[in-house]
């Protein structure tokens, strides 16, 4: 077994990119301030020195052009990683993603194997434009894949898999976890987490909670609370991939527990919980002993002030209350 090192979520992202760039010279990264400056969050610190300006490309402030160039380079067999300085700034590249990247293989037979990654999520008092969760913008777009790691291991393993994937992958990294989440990971050993496979974070037989990304930790905390105080065992499923979605894992768990709660950080209305509800409704209706419920953010933009943002975001108490409601149902 190889040596272990404490690795933050942020370092896991950096390591995945650096290791893939060392292994495969087709991998390169492009984005704003990633070279000379080393990235807004210093994720690509030292990359320019190690890999050179050909593979660590500082671009103009132009997200559409960044994604576009990644698509073209992917057509040529390269493996581009396009960084959005904040995932909120994926919006100007929306057209390139949903119309060019997503539809490329279907229309032409030529794929666009690229990764678009960037910091998402709230909790860090960053206001309406640096806190968003954007998965729902893309959830109805066939041709895209989407992942949202919650642990350092998954951050590394999913990014490695995404870089190698022949299809366009949106990789949502939660900035609140960057330096808060740490894990012992093997040094220089390849970790690959396949896209489309959920992970059972905590086993249980009384209630299934499906979540992903930043909400994993609050969910796990609520599950422990309930185990301690109520003696009920909550199964926590960390989706990791949103598309492809591991419907089998969700359905199997719900068929076991008979109860489902879905937790996500994006606003409730039109959020990803809807698709999960529809899938479970179709695949496990007869096993349901209670309504499928969801805990998600308010149906508003993300507010700035601490009191407002805390109110806006789902909290451990919300998850625990919902879980208890379902358990008592």
């Amino acid at each position: 077994m190889s040596e272990l090192r404490e690795t933050t979520y942020l370092e896991a992202i950096r390591d995945a990119m650096a290791e893939e760039m060392r292994r495969d010279d087709r991998v390169f990264i492009l984005g704003e301030d990633i070279g000379v400056y080393g990235g807004a969050f210093k994720i690509t610190e030292g990359f320019l020195q190690e890999f050179g300006a050909d593979r660590v490309i500082d671009t103009p402030i132009s997200e559409a052009a960044i994604v576009g160039a990644a698509i073209g380079a992917a057509h040529m067999g390269l493996r581009p990683i396009a960084e959005m300085q904040f995932i909120d700034f994926i919006a100007p590249a929306f057209d390139m993603i949903v119309n060019f990247a997503a539809k490329s293989r279907y229309r032409t037979g030529i794929g666009a194997g690229l990764v678009i990654r960037g910091p998402c999520g709230g909790g860090s008092r960053s206001g309406p434009f640096h806190s968003q969760n954007v998965e729902s913008y893309f959830v109805n777009v066939a041709g895209l894949k989407m992942v949202a790691p919650a642990t350092a291991r998954d951050a590394k393993g999913l990014l490695t898999a995404a870089i190698r994937d022949p299809d366009p992958v949106l990789y949502f990294e939660h900035k609140y976890l960057y330096r808060r989440v740490k894990e012992m990971l093997p040094i220089e050993e390849e970790i690959v987490v396949p896209l489309g496979v959920a992970r059972t974070h905590r086993a249980g037989s009384d209630l299934t909670i499906v979540t992903y990304g930043g909400m994993l930790y609050k969910t796990a905390e609520a599950a422990e609370l309930i185990a301690g105080e109520d003696g009920a065992e909550v199964e926590v499923i960390d989706l990791r991939s949103l598309r492809p979605l591991d419907t089998d894992a969700i359905v199997a768990s719900v068929r076991k527990t008979g109860r489902l709660l879905i937790v996500h950080e994006a606003s409730e209305f039109g959020g990803f919980a809807g698709e999960i509800t529809a899938q479970v409704s179709e695949h496990a209706f007869e096993w349901l002993d209670a309504p499928i419920r969801r805990v998600a953010a308010l149906n508003t933009p993300v507010p700035y002030a601490a009191a407002l943002e805390d109110y806006y975001l789902p909290q451990v108490d919300d998850i625990a209350a919902a879980a208890r409601w379902l358990l008592a149902y």
């Binding site: 390169f28 671009t59 052009a65 990644a70 698509i71 992917a74 057509h75 390139m96 060019f100 032409t108």
Partner: protein, 333 residues
């Protein structure tokens, strides 16, 4: 140019006959820009034509049958019947097709040029854009990035006076489209877009510059769109006098004049015309005999893995039921 014009005329006939639906964006009057410029590229170079650059596709070697197949939505078409109009992406021919949202193609071609640059290949990219499209967001970002990175790319701005049903002078305050280049800090040149030789010469210079590390060049083709935007547009808003003026500058007539001047005989030219017509006749017959795609193919090729093909809708299985998992297994227990 004769092939381009002939092919587009066949497409119009096929449309009237009901063999194809949708739009044809004719390049009548602009053939010289597409054809002359494409001849300036070599093997390994990439070309990204807009919808009005049929000629460039043909010069790069696209088979007229492939064009016809795509328009008539044959299953044998390069896109398997999934896309339409002049969207041809053919890596073997170095062709990158557009998608409909204007301006986006340049951004993607940048990535091709970037690959050349990274691999130290001395290959070049060329693309085209209407003056209307130059106002889009994607176009601007594409230009700016190509300029900033010094990519080996040549961009034609086709100033054909129109954008759909609106004169481009109404949609912009630009006087001389050559000025547009200044914003990006790259060399630029204006060309008589209806003169195939002038087009070739300018393209050649720009291509050579890009090939030798000189970065992007913007070329402005001064030309005119002689028909409506597409078939459904009768172009009623255009002054006949203006059309007349530009008809006198028809790129094929001008080319014929030059060739005659250089000694080509009427018989030789007629011979070419007949060859082209025969080729087109045969291609049309051949393609129309080919089958449409199979309905079920609508499900495939969304992702690289066939495992991720779209499922057959549950309502279409022999017994409605969800993918092997019958929801009513535990029915009312």
């Amino acid at each position: 140019m004769l092939l381009t014009r002939g092919l587009e005329e066949r497409l119009e006939i096929l449309l009237k006959q009901g063999h194809l639906v949708g739009s044809i964006y004719r390049s009548l009057g602009q053939e010289a820009t597409a054809v002359g410029s494409a001849f300036a590229l070599g093997a390994g170079d990439w070309l990204a034509p807009s919808i009005r650059d049929m000629g460039a596709l043909l010069v790069r070697g696209l088979d007229v049958r492939d064009v016809l197949r795509q328009y008539t939505a044959r299953g044998t078409s390069l896109c398997a019947g999934k896309d339409n109009t002049n969207h041809f992406t053919v890596p073997e021919l170095g062709l990158l097709g557009p998608i409909s949202p204007l301006g986006t193609q340049l951004c993607v071609l940048n990535g091709v040029a970037l690959a050349f640059q990274q691999r130290r290949q001395s290959c070049v990219c060329m693309t085209y854009q209407g003056e209307g499209a130059s106002r889009t967001s994607a176009s601007h970002e594409g230009f700016a990035l190509a300029a900033a990175l010094g990519l080996p790319i040549v961009v034609w701005l086709e100033h054909n006076r129109w954008a759909f049903g609106t004169p481009s002078s109404r949609e912009s305050a630009v006087g001389d489209w050559l000025d547009a280049a200044a914003m990006y800090g790259v060399p630029a040149q204006s060309v008589d877009g209806n003169d195939v030789v002038a087009v070739y010469a300018a393209a050649r210079t720009a291509v050579d510059r890009a090939r030798t590390g000189g970065g992007m060049t913007i070329l402005v083709a001064e030309t005119y769109r002689m028909l409506g935007h597409a078939q459904h547009d009768a172009q009623k808003y255009v002054l006949e006098a203006e059309l007349e003026q530009w008809r006198a500058r028809d790129p094929i007539d001008r080319c014929v004049a030059v060739l005659s001047h250089m000694g080509a005989s009427g018989a030789e030219l007629d011979g070419i015309r007949r060859t082209v017509a025969a080729e087109l006749d045969q291609a049309v017959d051949e393609v129309l005999a080919e089958p449409p795609p199979l309905a079920d193919d609508a499900r495939t090729r969304v992702y690289a893995s066939a495992n991720l093909d779209a499922a057959v809708p549950w309502t279409r299985g022999p017994v409605p039921g969800y993918g092997g998992i019958a929801p009513h297994v535990r029915l009312r227990t």
